[in-house]
Symmetry: C2
Subunit: 257 residues, 2 copies
Protein backbone atom coordinates (compact mmCIF):
# COMPACT_ATOMS: atom_id res chain seq x y z
CA UNK A 1 0.00 0.00 0.00
CA UNK A 2 1.22 3.48 -0.81
CA UNK A 3 1.92 5.86 2.04
CA UNK A 4 -0.04 9.06 2.56
CA UNK A 5 1.43 12.51 2.09
CA UNK A 6 -0.15 15.87 2.88
CA UNK A 7 1.10 18.91 0.98
CA UNK A 8 -0.01 22.19 2.53
CA UNK A 9 0.23 25.54 0.85
CA UNK A 10 -0.02 28.64 3.02
CA UNK A 11 0.07 32.23 1.85
CA UNK A 12 2.36 34.96 3.02
CA UNK A 13 0.01 36.46 5.59
CA UNK A 14 0.00 33.32 7.76
CA UNK A 15 3.77 32.87 7.87
CA UNK A 16 4.59 36.54 8.30
CA UNK A 17 2.75 37.22 11.53
CA UNK A 18 4.33 35.72 14.60
CA UNK A 19 1.16 34.45 16.27
CA UNK A 20 -0.36 32.87 13.16
CA UNK A 21 3.01 31.38 12.18
CA UNK A 22 3.39 29.81 15.62
CA UNK A 23 -0.12 28.33 15.40
CA UNK A 24 0.54 27.00 11.90
CA UNK A 25 3.82 25.37 12.93
CA UNK A 26 2.19 23.82 16.00
CA UNK A 27 -0.64 22.39 13.87
CA UNK A 28 1.63 21.30 11.03
CA UNK A 29 3.98 19.55 13.47
CA UNK A 30 1.15 17.38 14.79
CA UNK A 31 -0.02 16.23 11.34
CA UNK A 32 0.68 12.52 11.00
CA UNK A 33 2.26 10.92 7.96
CA UNK A 34 4.55 12.40 5.34
CA UNK A 35 4.16 16.09 4.70
CA UNK A 36 5.40 19.05 2.69
CA UNK A 37 4.89 22.77 3.33
CA UNK A 38 4.83 25.37 0.53
CA UNK A 39 4.85 29.00 1.63
CA UNK A 40 4.51 32.50 0.23
CA UNK A 41 6.02 35.66 1.63
CA UNK A 42 4.80 38.55 -0.49
CA UNK A 43 4.09 40.98 2.30
CA UNK A 44 7.60 40.67 3.73
CA UNK A 45 9.04 41.11 0.24
CA UNK A 46 6.99 44.27 -0.25
CA UNK A 47 8.12 45.55 3.14
CA UNK A 48 11.81 44.93 2.46
CA UNK A 49 11.50 46.44 -1.03
CA UNK A 50 9.95 49.55 0.54
CA UNK A 51 12.81 49.89 3.04
CA UNK A 52 15.27 49.60 0.13
CA UNK A 53 13.38 52.18 -1.92
CA UNK A 54 12.35 49.60 -4.54
CA UNK A 55 8.85 50.03 -5.89
CA UNK A 56 6.61 46.95 -5.76
CA UNK A 57 4.47 46.67 -8.89
CA UNK A 58 1.67 44.12 -8.99
CA UNK A 59 -0.55 43.10 -11.94
CA UNK A 60 -3.56 40.91 -11.05
CA UNK A 61 -1.90 40.00 -7.78
CA UNK A 62 1.33 38.97 -9.52
CA UNK A 63 4.57 40.75 -8.71
CA UNK A 64 6.51 42.33 -11.57
CA UNK A 65 10.00 41.03 -10.82
CA UNK A 66 12.86 43.17 -12.11
CA UNK A 67 16.50 42.32 -11.24
CA UNK A 68 16.44 44.19 -7.93
CA UNK A 69 13.09 42.69 -6.95
CA UNK A 70 14.43 39.21 -7.75
CA UNK A 71 17.19 39.84 -5.20
CA UNK A 72 14.57 40.94 -2.66
CA UNK A 73 12.39 37.84 -3.12
CA UNK A 74 15.46 35.57 -3.09
CA UNK A 75 16.45 37.04 0.27
CA UNK A 76 12.94 37.03 1.74
CA UNK A 77 11.43 33.80 0.35
CA UNK A 78 14.60 31.69 0.19
CA UNK A 79 16.27 33.14 3.28
CA UNK A 80 14.22 34.94 5.90
CA UNK A 81 10.82 33.25 5.64
CA UNK A 82 12.01 29.78 4.62
CA UNK A 83 14.80 29.39 7.18
CA UNK A 84 12.72 30.72 10.06
CA UNK A 85 10.02 28.17 9.24
CA UNK A 86 12.67 25.43 9.07
CA UNK A 87 14.16 26.41 12.44
CA UNK A 88 10.65 26.63 13.94
CA UNK A 89 9.74 23.16 12.70
CA UNK A 90 13.03 21.68 13.91
CA UNK A 91 12.19 23.05 17.35
CA UNK A 92 8.92 21.07 17.12
CA UNK A 93 10.65 17.82 16.23
CA UNK A 94 9.97 18.05 12.48
CA UNK A 95 13.05 17.33 10.36
CA UNK A 96 12.44 20.21 7.94
CA UNK A 97 14.54 20.94 4.87
CA UNK A 98 14.15 24.33 3.20
CA UNK A 99 14.22 24.28 -0.59
CA UNK A 100 13.91 26.47 -3.62
CA UNK A 101 13.36 24.86 -6.99
CA UNK A 102 17.09 25.26 -7.69
CA UNK A 103 18.05 22.98 -4.79
CA UNK A 104 18.58 19.44 -6.08
CA UNK A 105 17.07 20.75 -9.32
CA UNK A 106 13.66 20.09 -7.81
CA UNK A 107 11.73 22.57 -9.97
CA UNK A 108 12.89 23.70 -13.38
CA UNK A 109 11.03 26.61 -14.93
CA UNK A 110 11.16 28.89 -17.95
CA UNK A 111 11.07 32.66 -17.82
CA UNK A 112 7.58 33.76 -18.74
CA UNK A 113 7.52 35.12 -22.31
CA UNK A 114 6.82 38.83 -22.60
CA UNK A 115 3.25 39.31 -23.83
CA UNK A 116 1.02 42.27 -23.04
CA UNK A 117 2.80 42.41 -19.70
CA UNK A 118 6.50 41.85 -18.97
CA UNK A 119 6.49 40.08 -15.62
CA UNK A 120 10.30 40.10 -15.56
CA UNK A 121 12.10 37.30 -13.72
CA UNK A 122 9.01 35.15 -13.24
CA UNK A 123 9.12 31.44 -14.01
CA UNK A 124 6.49 29.06 -15.32
CA UNK A 125 7.07 25.53 -14.03
CA UNK A 126 8.34 23.09 -16.66
CA UNK A 127 9.44 20.06 -14.67
CA UNK A 128 9.39 18.77 -11.10
CA UNK A 129 12.09 16.21 -10.24
CA UNK A 130 10.55 14.34 -7.36
CA UNK A 131 12.75 11.21 -7.14
CA UNK A 132 15.34 12.51 -4.67
CA UNK A 133 12.63 14.48 -2.90
CA UNK A 134 10.44 11.42 -2.36
CA UNK A 135 13.48 9.48 -1.22
CA UNK A 136 14.16 12.10 1.48
CA UNK A 137 10.49 12.23 2.44
CA UNK A 138 10.58 8.46 2.89
CA UNK A 139 13.44 8.98 5.35
CA UNK A 140 11.34 11.36 7.45
CA UNK A 141 12.49 14.65 5.95
CA UNK A 142 9.83 17.36 5.57
CA UNK A 143 10.46 19.70 2.62
CA UNK A 144 9.61 23.38 3.14
CA UNK A 145 9.38 24.99 -0.27
CA UNK A 146 9.89 28.66 -1.10
CA UNK A 147 8.22 30.12 -4.21
CA UNK A 148 11.43 30.30 -6.27
CA UNK A 149 12.54 28.10 -9.15
CA UNK A 150 15.47 28.10 -11.57
CA UNK A 151 15.83 27.94 -15.33
CA UNK A 152 18.82 25.60 -15.46
CA UNK A 153 21.12 28.28 -16.85
CA UNK A 154 21.92 29.93 -13.54
CA UNK A 155 18.90 32.17 -13.06
CA UNK A 156 16.51 32.04 -10.15
CA UNK A 157 12.91 32.89 -11.04
CA UNK A 158 10.02 34.11 -8.90
CA UNK A 159 7.22 31.54 -9.13
CA UNK A 160 3.65 31.47 -7.86
CA UNK A 161 3.38 29.40 -4.66
CA UNK A 162 -0.02 27.90 -5.64
CA UNK A 163 1.56 26.62 -8.85
CA UNK A 164 4.55 25.19 -6.98
CA UNK A 165 2.17 23.40 -4.61
CA UNK A 166 0.04 21.99 -7.45
CA UNK A 167 2.94 20.86 -9.62
CA UNK A 168 4.85 19.34 -6.69
CA UNK A 169 1.71 17.50 -5.54
CA UNK A 170 1.27 16.05 -9.03
CA UNK A 171 4.91 14.92 -9.20
CA UNK A 172 4.80 13.36 -5.72
CA UNK A 173 1.59 11.50 -6.66
CA UNK A 174 3.87 9.07 -8.49
CA UNK A 175 5.23 7.99 -5.09
CA UNK A 176 2.54 8.75 -2.48
CA UNK A 177 -1.21 9.09 -1.97
CA UNK A 178 -1.22 12.87 -1.97
CA UNK A 179 -3.70 15.24 -0.35
CA UNK A 180 -3.15 18.81 -1.51
CA UNK A 181 -4.38 21.47 0.93
CA UNK A 182 -4.73 25.08 -0.19
CA UNK A 183 -5.12 27.41 2.78
CA UNK A 184 -6.83 30.68 2.12
CA UNK A 185 -8.69 33.36 4.02
CA UNK A 186 -12.19 31.81 3.79
CA UNK A 187 -13.31 28.57 5.45
CA UNK A 188 -13.67 26.84 2.08
CA UNK A 189 -15.62 27.17 -1.16
CA UNK A 190 -18.75 29.11 -0.23
CA UNK A 191 -22.29 28.55 -1.52
CA UNK A 192 -23.01 32.20 -0.69
CA UNK A 193 -20.03 34.55 -0.84
CA UNK A 194 -21.65 36.78 1.81
CA UNK A 195 -22.04 33.93 4.29
CA UNK A 196 -18.72 32.65 5.62
CA UNK A 197 -20.45 29.60 7.06
CA UNK A 198 -21.97 28.42 3.77
CA UNK A 199 -19.04 26.12 3.09
CA UNK A 200 -19.59 23.42 0.48
CA UNK A 201 -18.14 20.44 2.32
CA UNK A 202 -17.47 18.24 -0.68
CA UNK A 203 -17.32 18.78 -4.38
CA UNK A 204 -16.86 16.51 -7.39
CA UNK A 205 -16.45 17.55 -11.00
CA UNK A 206 -20.16 17.16 -11.87
CA UNK A 207 -21.14 19.32 -8.86
CA UNK A 208 -18.52 21.88 -9.83
CA UNK A 209 -19.77 22.18 -13.43
CA UNK A 210 -23.33 22.48 -12.17
CA UNK A 211 -22.51 25.15 -9.54
CA UNK A 212 -20.36 27.06 -12.03
CA UNK A 213 -23.20 27.10 -14.58
CA UNK A 214 -25.59 28.33 -11.90
CA UNK A 215 -23.12 31.12 -11.03
CA UNK A 216 -22.78 29.90 -7.42
CA UNK A 217 -19.05 29.39 -7.98
CA UNK A 218 -17.52 32.34 -9.80
CA UNK A 219 -14.66 34.82 -9.99
CA UNK A 220 -11.28 33.88 -8.59
CA UNK A 221 -12.59 30.56 -7.30
CA UNK A 222 -13.08 29.23 -10.85
CA UNK A 223 -9.38 28.99 -11.83
CA UNK A 224 -8.53 27.73 -8.31
CA UNK A 225 -10.96 24.85 -8.73
CA UNK A 226 -9.94 24.19 -12.33
CA UNK A 227 -6.37 23.77 -11.01
CA UNK A 228 -7.66 21.47 -8.28
CA UNK A 229 -9.39 19.19 -10.80
CA UNK A 230 -6.29 19.25 -13.00
CA UNK A 231 -4.25 18.01 -10.01
CA UNK A 232 -6.82 15.28 -9.36
CA UNK A 233 -6.71 14.23 -13.01
CA UNK A 234 -2.93 14.02 -12.70
CA UNK A 235 -3.09 11.55 -9.81
CA UNK A 236 -3.52 13.64 -6.66
CA UNK A 237 -6.08 11.84 -4.42
CA UNK A 238 -7.81 14.80 -2.87
CA UNK A 239 -7.64 18.60 -2.85
CA UNK A 240 -8.83 20.52 0.21
CA UNK A 241 -9.56 24.24 0.27
CA UNK A 242 -9.65 25.51 3.84
CA UNK A 243 -8.28 28.00 6.36
CA UNK A 244 -4.80 27.72 7.80
CA UNK A 245 -6.32 27.37 11.27
CA UNK A 246 -8.17 24.24 10.11
CA UNK A 247 -5.38 22.12 8.61
CA UNK A 248 -5.73 19.55 11.38
CA UNK A 249 -9.49 19.23 11.19
CA UNK A 250 -12.11 18.04 8.76
CA UNK A 251 -13.31 21.53 7.79
CA UNK A 252 -13.10 23.19 4.41
CA UNK A 253 -14.13 21.92 1.00
CA UNK A 254 -12.90 18.45 0.03
CA UNK A 255 -12.59 18.00 -3.71
CA UNK A 256 -12.44 14.68 -5.51
CA UNK A 257 -13.08 13.66 -9.09
CA UNK B 1 37.74 1.46 -0.06
CA UNK B 2 36.25 4.70 1.17
CA UNK B 3 35.36 7.35 -1.38
CA UNK B 4 37.08 10.72 -1.50
CA UNK B 5 35.35 13.97 -0.62
CA UNK B 6 36.68 17.51 -1.00
CA UNK B 7 35.20 20.19 1.25
CA UNK B 8 36.04 23.70 0.11
CA UNK B 9 35.55 26.81 2.19
CA UNK B 10 35.56 30.16 0.42
CA UNK B 11 35.19 33.57 2.00
CA UNK B 12 32.70 36.24 1.16
CA UNK B 13 34.92 38.21 -1.20
CA UNK B 14 35.15 35.37 -3.73
CA UNK B 15 31.43 34.63 -3.92
CA UNK B 16 30.31 38.24 -3.90
CA UNK B 17 32.09 39.46 -7.01
CA UNK B 18 30.63 38.23 -10.25
CA UNK B 19 33.89 37.42 -12.06
CA UNK B 20 35.54 35.59 -9.14
CA UNK B 21 32.30 33.74 -8.37
CA UNK B 22 32.02 32.57 -11.99
CA UNK B 23 35.64 31.36 -11.91
CA UNK B 24 35.08 29.57 -8.61
CA UNK B 25 31.94 27.82 -9.84
CA UNK B 26 33.68 26.78 -13.08
CA UNK B 27 36.61 25.33 -11.12
CA UNK B 28 34.45 23.74 -8.44
CA UNK B 29 32.23 22.11 -11.09
CA UNK B 30 35.21 20.34 -12.66
CA UNK B 31 36.48 18.87 -9.37
CA UNK B 32 36.06 15.12 -9.48
CA UNK B 33 34.62 13.03 -6.64
CA UNK B 34 32.24 14.01 -3.89
CA UNK B 35 32.34 17.62 -2.79
CA UNK B 36 30.90 20.23 -0.45
CA UNK B 37 31.12 24.03 -0.63
CA UNK B 38 30.98 26.25 2.46
CA UNK B 39 30.69 29.97 1.81
CA UNK B 40 30.75 33.30 3.61
CA UNK B 41 29.00 36.48 2.59
CA UNK B 42 30.00 39.18 5.05
CA UNK B 43 30.52 41.98 2.59
CA UNK B 44 27.03 41.58 1.11
CA UNK B 45 25.58 41.48 4.62
CA UNK B 46 27.38 44.71 5.50
CA UNK B 47 26.14 46.30 2.27
CA UNK B 48 22.51 45.30 2.86
CA UNK B 49 22.73 46.42 6.51
CA UNK B 50 24.02 49.80 5.34
CA UNK B 51 21.14 50.21 2.88
CA UNK B 52 18.71 49.39 5.71
CA UNK B 53 20.40 51.83 8.08
CA UNK B 54 21.65 49.07 10.38
CA UNK B 55 25.11 49.60 11.80
CA UNK B 56 27.59 46.72 11.31
CA UNK B 57 29.75 46.24 14.39
CA UNK B 58 32.73 43.90 14.20
CA UNK B 59 35.03 42.71 17.00
CA UNK B 60 38.20 40.88 15.88
CA UNK B 61 36.59 40.25 12.52
CA UNK B 62 33.45 38.76 14.10
CA UNK B 63 30.09 40.38 13.49
CA UNK B 64 28.06 41.47 16.51
CA UNK B 65 24.67 40.00 15.59
CA UNK B 66 21.67 41.74 17.11
CA UNK B 67 18.11 40.74 16.14
CA UNK B 68 18.01 42.99 13.06
CA UNK B 69 21.46 41.86 11.93
CA UNK B 70 20.39 38.24 12.29
CA UNK B 71 17.58 38.96 9.82
CA UNK B 72 20.08 40.54 7.45
CA UNK B 73 22.50 37.58 7.54
CA UNK B 74 19.62 35.11 7.23
CA UNK B 75 18.52 36.90 4.05
CA UNK B 76 22.00 37.33 2.63
CA UNK B 77 23.75 34.08 3.61
CA UNK B 78 20.76 31.72 3.51
CA UNK B 79 18.97 33.42 0.60
CA UNK B 80 20.87 35.67 -1.77
CA UNK B 81 24.38 34.22 -1.70
CA UNK B 82 23.46 30.58 -1.11
CA UNK B 83 20.70 30.29 -3.70
CA UNK B 84 22.67 32.09 -6.40
CA UNK B 85 25.56 29.67 -5.89
CA UNK B 86 23.12 26.76 -6.05
CA UNK B 87 21.55 28.01 -9.29
CA UNK B 88 25.03 28.67 -10.73
CA UNK B 89 26.20 25.16 -9.91
CA UNK B 90 23.03 23.59 -11.30
CA UNK B 91 23.76 25.42 -14.57
CA UNK B 92 27.16 23.68 -14.55
CA UNK B 93 25.68 20.23 -14.06
CA UNK B 94 26.36 20.05 -10.32
CA UNK B 95 23.36 18.85 -8.31
CA UNK B 96 23.75 21.46 -5.57
CA UNK B 97 21.61 21.65 -2.44
CA UNK B 98 21.75 24.84 -0.37
CA UNK B 99 21.70 24.32 3.38
CA UNK B 100 21.87 26.14 6.65
CA UNK B 101 22.56 24.18 9.82
CA UNK B 102 18.82 24.23 10.54
CA UNK B 103 18.02 22.25 7.39
CA UNK B 104 17.76 18.55 8.23
CA UNK B 105 19.17 19.57 11.63
CA UNK B 106 22.63 19.35 10.06
CA UNK B 107 24.36 21.69 12.52
CA UNK B 108 23.14 22.30 16.03
CA UNK B 109 24.79 25.15 17.93
CA UNK B 110 24.48 27.04 21.19
CA UNK B 111 24.29 30.80 21.53
CA UNK B 112 27.69 32.03 22.61
CA UNK B 113 27.65 32.94 26.32
CA UNK B 114 28.07 36.64 27.05
CA UNK B 115 31.60 37.24 28.35
CA UNK B 116 33.56 40.45 27.94
CA UNK B 117 31.79 40.84 24.63
CA UNK B 118 28.15 40.10 23.81
CA UNK B 119 28.27 38.74 20.26
CA UNK B 120 24.46 38.48 20.18
CA UNK B 121 22.89 35.79 18.00
CA UNK B 122 26.12 33.96 17.28
CA UNK B 123 26.30 30.19 17.60
CA UNK B 124 29.12 27.87 18.63
CA UNK B 125 28.80 24.49 16.92
CA UNK B 126 27.73 21.66 19.23
CA UNK B 127 26.85 18.82 16.87
CA UNK B 128 26.98 17.98 13.17
CA UNK B 129 24.49 15.35 12.01
CA UNK B 130 26.15 13.95 8.93
CA UNK B 131 24.20 10.73 8.33
CA UNK B 132 21.51 12.11 6.02
CA UNK B 133 24.06 14.47 4.50
CA UNK B 134 26.47 11.68 3.62
CA UNK B 135 23.58 9.66 2.23
CA UNK B 136 22.69 12.53 -0.12
CA UNK B 137 26.34 13.05 -1.06
CA UNK B 138 26.53 9.37 -1.95
CA UNK B 139 23.62 9.97 -4.35
CA UNK B 140 25.54 12.74 -6.13
CA UNK B 141 24.14 15.73 -4.26
CA UNK B 142 26.59 18.55 -3.54
CA UNK B 143 25.80 20.47 -0.33
CA UNK B 144 26.36 24.23 -0.40
CA UNK B 145 26.47 25.43 3.18
CA UNK B 146 25.70 28.93 4.45
CA UNK B 147 27.26 30.14 7.72
CA UNK B 148 24.06 29.82 9.76
CA UNK B 149 23.13 27.20 12.35
CA UNK B 150 20.22 26.69 14.74
CA UNK B 151 19.89 26.05 18.46
CA UNK B 152 17.08 23.50 18.31
CA UNK B 153 14.59 25.81 19.99
CA UNK B 154 13.66 27.78 16.89
CA UNK B 155 16.50 30.27 16.69
CA UNK B 156 18.88 30.67 13.81
CA UNK B 157 22.41 31.69 14.81
CA UNK B 158 25.19 33.38 12.84
CA UNK B 159 28.18 31.02 12.76
CA UNK B 160 31.74 31.39 11.53
CA UNK B 161 32.15 29.74 8.10
CA UNK B 162 35.65 28.39 8.92
CA UNK B 163 34.18 26.62 11.94
CA UNK B 164 31.31 25.19 9.89
CA UNK B 165 33.82 23.88 7.33
CA UNK B 166 36.06 22.30 9.99
CA UNK B 167 33.25 20.71 12.00
CA UNK B 168 31.46 19.41 8.90
CA UNK B 169 34.72 17.97 7.54
CA UNK B 170 35.28 16.14 10.84
CA UNK B 171 31.74 14.74 10.85
CA UNK B 172 31.96 13.62 7.21
CA UNK B 173 35.30 11.90 7.93
CA UNK B 174 33.22 9.12 9.44
CA UNK B 175 31.93 8.35 5.94
CA UNK B 176 34.54 9.63 3.45
CA UNK B 177 38.26 10.30 2.99
CA UNK B 178 37.99 14.05 3.46
CA UNK B 179 40.27 16.77 2.15
CA UNK B 180 39.46 20.13 3.72
CA UNK B 181 40.47 23.14 1.63
CA UNK B 182 40.54 26.61 3.18
CA UNK B 183 40.75 29.31 0.52
CA UNK B 184 42.20 32.59 1.60
CA UNK B 185 43.85 35.62 0.05
CA UNK B 186 47.46 34.32 0.10
CA UNK B 187 48.81 31.41 -1.94
CA UNK B 188 49.33 29.30 1.21
CA UNK B 189 51.25 29.38 4.48
CA UNK B 190 54.23 31.67 3.81
CA UNK B 191 57.79 31.20 5.05
CA UNK B 192 58.24 34.99 4.66
CA UNK B 193 55.09 37.06 5.09
CA UNK B 194 56.50 39.72 2.75
CA UNK B 195 57.11 37.23 -0.06
CA UNK B 196 53.90 35.88 -1.56
CA UNK B 197 55.84 33.17 -3.35
CA UNK B 198 57.48 31.72 -0.24
CA UNK B 199 54.72 29.13 0.14
CA UNK B 200 55.49 26.18 2.42
CA UNK B 201 54.26 23.34 0.21
CA UNK B 202 53.79 20.73 2.92
CA UNK B 203 53.62 20.81 6.66
CA UNK B 204 53.32 18.18 9.36
CA UNK B 205 52.85 18.74 13.08
CA UNK B 206 56.59 18.52 13.91
CA UNK B 207 57.39 21.10 11.19
CA UNK B 208 54.60 23.31 12.44
CA UNK B 209 55.83 23.27 16.06
CA UNK B 210 59.33 23.98 14.86
CA UNK B 211 58.33 26.88 12.60
CA UNK B 212 56.05 28.33 15.27
CA UNK B 213 58.89 28.26 17.83
CA UNK B 214 61.17 29.98 15.32
CA UNK B 215 58.52 32.65 14.80
CA UNK B 216 58.23 31.86 11.06
CA UNK B 217 54.56 31.02 11.53
CA UNK B 218 52.82 33.59 13.70
CA UNK B 219 49.77 35.82 14.18
CA UNK B 220 46.46 34.81 12.64
CA UNK B 221 48.00 31.77 10.97
CA UNK B 222 48.60 30.06 14.33
CA UNK B 223 44.95 29.41 15.26
CA UNK B 224 44.17 28.54 11.60
CA UNK B 225 46.83 25.82 11.69
CA UNK B 226 45.86 24.65 15.15
CA UNK B 227 42.33 24.14 13.78
CA UNK B 228 43.79 22.29 10.80
CA UNK B 229 45.68 19.85 13.04
CA UNK B 230 42.60 19.43 15.20
CA UNK B 231 40.66 18.40 12.08
CA UNK B 232 43.42 15.96 11.11
CA UNK B 233 43.39 14.48 14.60
CA UNK B 234 39.63 14.03 14.26
CA UNK B 235 39.97 11.95 11.10
CA UNK B 236 40.24 14.42 8.21
CA UNK B 237 42.92 13.10 5.78
CA UNK B 238 44.41 16.36 4.62
CA UNK B 239 43.96 20.09 5.06
CA UNK B 240 44.99 22.46 2.25
CA UNK B 241 45.43 26.21 2.65
CA UNK B 242 45.40 27.89 -0.73
CA UNK B 243 43.84 30.56 -2.94
CA UNK B 244 40.37 30.20 -4.42
CA UNK B 245 41.91 30.38 -7.90
CA UNK B 246 43.99 27.28 -7.12
CA UNK B 247 41.38 24.80 -5.90
CA UNK B 248 41.90 22.60 -8.98
CA UNK B 249 45.69 22.52 -8.80
CA UNK B 250 48.41 21.26 -6.52
CA UNK B 251 49.35 24.69 -5.13
CA UNK B 252 49.04 25.93 -1.58
CA UNK B 253 50.15 24.36 1.67
CA UNK B 254 49.20 20.71 2.21
CA UNK B 255 48.95 19.78 5.86
CA UNK B 256 49.06 16.25 7.26
CA UNK B 257 49.76 14.86 10.69
Amino acid sequence: MREKLTLIKVGGKIVEEEASLRQLLDDFATLTGHKVLVHGGGRSATRLAERLGIESRMVDGRRITDAETLQVVTMVYGGLVNKNIVAGLQARGVNALGLTGADMNVIRSAKRPVGNIDYGFVGDVKQVNAALLSDLIGKGVVPVMAPLTHDGTGHLLNTNADTIAGETAKALAEFFDVTLVYCFEKKGVLRDEHDDNSVISSLNYADFRHLAEEGVIQGGMLPKLQNAFEALNAGVCEVVITQATSIKGQGGTRIRL
